[in-house]
């Protein structure tokens, strides 16, 4: 979470000093942009004054390393413990349309699971975790690489795969927005499920399970 905040903040600081996105191999001020912050009410000069890419670049790389090292430890530990398989892989019956619909309804009504169901990840939760861990995170890392000049020699194929380094930059930003959405939804879910109980369980392992009747009282 600390990593996410720093990576987001430092990324934003870098972006603000060049607040336009392009598609393809090249892009610069005056070139056809696919996104201009100035179209959204913040002029180039205003954004530039808010940003600080020197600070941003230093911290972006620092926390990218913290993120990657931490991520590898997390990945290794969970593979070792077979936790991805037992906790995150949706069971066959969970993937039925009926089940998914029911889970979706519960989420939209902000109804938290009770009883034994509360101890497990819900199916939508499982899918979103897998998506973040194995699609969005790797995508962020690789699209970051595709923007680095060293990779024009290490792996030009990677840059071509994105359609050019400007496309990689644009996709990096889009992926950031998706991750931000995930974090916001995730935080709302934690609140719905009872923040005190959840956080206590993360730190101490103690988790109070509400039963249907207790909830009704």
């Amino acid at each position: 979470m600390l990593c996410f905040v720093y990576l987001l903040l430092s990324g934003l600081m870098i972006f603000l000093q060049f607040p336009e996105l392009y598609w393809g191999k090249v892009g610069f001020q005056g070139y056809d942009a696919v996104f201009k912050l100035s179209d959204w009410g913040l002029s180039w000069e205003e954004a530039d004054a808010l940003g600080n890419r020197r600070w941003g670049r230093n911290y972006h790389y620092l926390f990218a390393w913290v993120f990657v090292i931490n991520g590898l430890i997390y990945l290794g530990w969970n593979l070792w413990q077979k936790r991805f398989y037992s906790k995150m892989l949706p069971r066959r019956e969970e993937l039925s349309v009926k089940y998914l619909k029911a889970d979706m309804k519960n989420h939209l009504r902000f109804r938290a699971p009770t009883g034994t169901a509360a101890r497990q990840y819900g199916v939508l939760q499982k899918i979103s975790y897998l998506l973040v861990l194995f699609v969005l995170f790797p995508f962020m890392i690789v699209s970051g690489f595709a923007q680095m000049p060293a990779f024009t020699a290490i792996s030009p194929e990677l840059i071509d795969l994105f359609g050019g380094r400007q496309s990689a930059r644009t996709l990096h930003v889009i992926c950031t927005v998706l991750l931000l959405l995930f974090v916001v939804v995730h935080l709302i879910e934690v609140l719905v499920a009872g923040a005190v109980n959840q956080v206590r369980s993360m730190i101490t392992g103690r988790y109070v399970v509400l039963t249907e009747s207790a909830e009704g009282d």
Partner: protein, 254 residues
């Protein structure tokens, strides 16, 4: 299957020669290849070394950067940083169309020398169409023609065994340091031509450096002199370049 690439073959020859000139690439464990001249304090320094060491390992074959098609050359290539140094000597040279421009190559070289623009143009030349990647976020493609820095060092009799860095001074007060790993890369050239014409004023006339595996700020413009040194002490704040003196990364492969 990849076709055998003539560039790859010439690259092998290049590296053998580079070894003879630098004597450095043969000792693969030289830590100078894996860390900046000055490692910053704390975790920031750890991250810097991790980045540089991991990228250098991946680049250890001295692979060439991607080159582009002439049709992809960018019109209106942006001009950044100084575009016409406020320097009396430079302005005098400019008025004389750089006929009196001289490039001293000194320091830890066997035969210190000075090259005119004509001398530089008589050295082997290389033309490459590459993507210039600025740390700010923009990028643009241009064709660059120039003399490989390796050939320039050879023109000065090659470097001595203690040599570790090539320090380039520019008119207008900029300076930047490069290690031998980058100095001997085949695409590291002192460019005097851009898109088939003389290098324009705004892009660093008469000569700028292209060091293609780095961000834009390492592509120093308005080259004034070259010194080969063993360390960066005593130059600016001693971090190895004006950009890193101001806390940008010295190693700018990103």
């Amino acid at each position: 299957m990849k076709k055998p690439n003539p560039e790859t073959l010439s690259r092998r020859k290049f590296i053998t020669r580079a070894g003879a000139v630098g004597g450095l690439l043969l000792t693969g464990c030289d830590t100078v290849l894996y860390k900046p001249p000055v490692v910053r304090d704390g975790l920031m320094g750890v991250a810097d070394v991790l980045t540089m060491a991991s990228q250098r390992l991946l680049l250890s074959g001295q692979q060439l950067v991607q080159e582009h098609d002439a049709s992809e050359i960018t019109k209106n290539f942006p001009i950044w940083n100084q575009s016409n140094p406020e320097d009396e000597e430079y302005q005098r040279l400019r008025r004389g169309n750089y006929a009196d421009w001289q490039l001293p190559v000194t320091g830890m070289v066997n035969r210190p020398t000075s090259l005119s623009l004509e001398d530089l143009k008589r050295l082997p030349r290389r033309t490459q169409i590459t993507n210039h990647i600025c740390e700010q976020g923009w990028s643009a493609i241009a064709q660059w023609t120039g003399a490989p820095l390796l050939n320039v060092l050879e023109a000065a009799g090659g470097v001595t065994p203690e040599a570790r860095y090539v320090l380039i001074d520019a008119y207008g007060g900029w300076y930047e340091g490069y290690d031998m790993f980058d100095a001997v890369h085949p695409q590291t050239i002192l460019a005097y031509g851009m898109n088939g014409k003389e290098l324009p004023l705004g892009h660093g006339a008469p000569v700028r450096l292209r060091v293609e595996r780095h961000c834009g700020y390492k592509q120093i413009k308005f080259v004034k002199s070259i010194r080969v040194v063993s360390n960066m002490d005593g130059f600016g704040r001693g971090t190895g370049g004006l950009n890193s003196d101001f806390d940008f990364h010295w190693y700018a492969g990103a």
